[in-house]
């Protein structure tokens, strides 16, 4: 499978983040791991790009972030867990619908 890199992912990252958060709340690093495992290793994401996407989604009210109460034995600062809000679920449904249309239309053209 060919690698999917930065530019090809632009515009889809937020949808992918919402999708992986549907499985349950997660912090940034875990979101990336979920994305990587779902992408079967073909997804080559510059990891930092996740955070601006998360902030945009949070600003729009689609996800809600909360600091974990204790860092525990782990090194480093506390992590911020994100969960999908009701508005986020509705937005994800809309994005899925639009994705299906996109794939159907573009797919027909490209595969023709």
């Amino acid at each position: 499978m060919n690698d999917i890199r930065g530019d090809a992912l632009r515009g889809h990252l937020e949808t992918m983040v919402l999708s992986v958060l549907e499985r349950g709340e997660a912090h940034g690093y875990e979101i990336l791991q979920r994305l990587e495992s779902a992408g079967c290793g073909a997804l080559k994401l510059k990891e930092g790009t996740l955070y601006p996407a998360l902030y945009r989604l949070e600003e729009a009210g689609f996800v809600k972030g909360a600091w974990e109460s204790d860092a525990g034995p782990r090194r480093g600062p506390r992590r911020r867990n994100y969960r999908l809000t009701a508005a986020g679920k509705r937005d994800l449904a809309r994005r899925r619908e639009s994705w299906r249309t996109f794939v159907a239309v573009i797919g027909r053209i490209v595969e023709a």
Binding site: K46, E59, R80
Partner: protein, 269 residues
């Protein structure tokens, strides 16, 4: 892990955003990098290599900074615009290495003299507009007012010089500096003491001057400061000090903690 903190600070420090938002970015990016580096170390990499790889995989710092900056609301970005002179204000109570108390006091006094000089230019307009309750007892009120204002200005400048000089000699400056640790009460108390000293050292010579030139009458400023207006101003200043000192103390304590965690890191800006 120090290099991870430095990398995060290099990305976040130039971003124009409120302190809370920047801290959120710092903590999240650092937590991410630490986890990534630990995962790489668990796979057998040594700490230095793991940190370098974690940094590399985070992506181009300039591009990430621009993306993060774009998530800051426009109004907040505007409010956090770095104006000329803001680095000086950031370091207002810090002394350069080897700087003498005299130089420290002179530099700050000259800035204050410029600001107050500009403010005093407004005073004659106010005086002649009739809005301010000056009493015209002198034969030449315009000349008298100009003389009083000139001396007031000199008093303010000398007063601030003395305050800055002694603030440095007594250690008050160090207490107010973000580099020095201290409880909110100690820092708030230091600000309160500094403000009180400055007010007293500015007003007392003005009063003395007015008393010397016109002891019988008391002069216009004595009238102003000892009358109803003076009492109101006094109560106002007291209230401001009582409210502002604890708030300043808390803000300065927070500022120190931020400096200790992030501001003390040397990044190549």
């Amino acid at each position: 892990m120090e290099q991870l903190k430095i990398h995060v600070e290099r990305i976040v420090r130039p971003i124009r955003a409120a302190a809370g938002r920047k801290n959120k970015m710092r903590n999240e990016l650092l937590a991410h990098l630490v986890q990534k580096a630990e995962a790489l170390m668990a796979d057998g990499a040594d700490e230095s290599t793991a940190c370098a790889q974690a940094i590399e995989q985070l992506g181009d710092p300039a591009s990430l900074r621009a993306d993060l900056q774009a998530t800051v609301p426009a109004l907040e970005r505007l409010a956090c615009l770095r104006l000329p002179g803001s680095p000086f204000l950031d370091r207002y109570f810090e002394k350069d290495e080897g700087e003498t108390p005299l130089h420290f006091a002179l530099v700050r006094t000259s800035h204050m003299a410029l600001v107050i000089g500009a403010i005093l230019l407004i005073a004659p307009t106010v005086r002649w507009s009739g809005l301010f309750p000056f009493r015209q007892r002198n034969a030449n009120p315009a000349a008298y007012c100009l003389m009083v204002l000139s001396f007031s200005y000199l008093s303010v400048v000398v007063g601030s010089f003395v305050t800055y000089y002694f603030a440095d000699l007594t250690g008050l400056r160090r207490l107010m500096s973000k580099i020095t640790p201290g409880t909110a009460w100690v820092k708030g108390g230091a600000v309160c003491l500094f403000m009180c000293a400055q007010i007293v050292l500015m007003i007392a010579p003005i009063m003395l001057f007015v008393w010397i030139i016109n002891p019988a009458d008391g002069g216009i400023l004595v009238d102003v400061f000892s009358g109803e207006f003076g009492r109101r101003v006094g109560i106002g200043i007291l209230l401001v000090l009582l409210v502002a000192s604890p708030i300043s103390g808390l803000a300065m304590k927070y500022e120190h903690e931020q400096w200790r965690k992030w501001g003390s890191l040397h990044i190549d800006e």
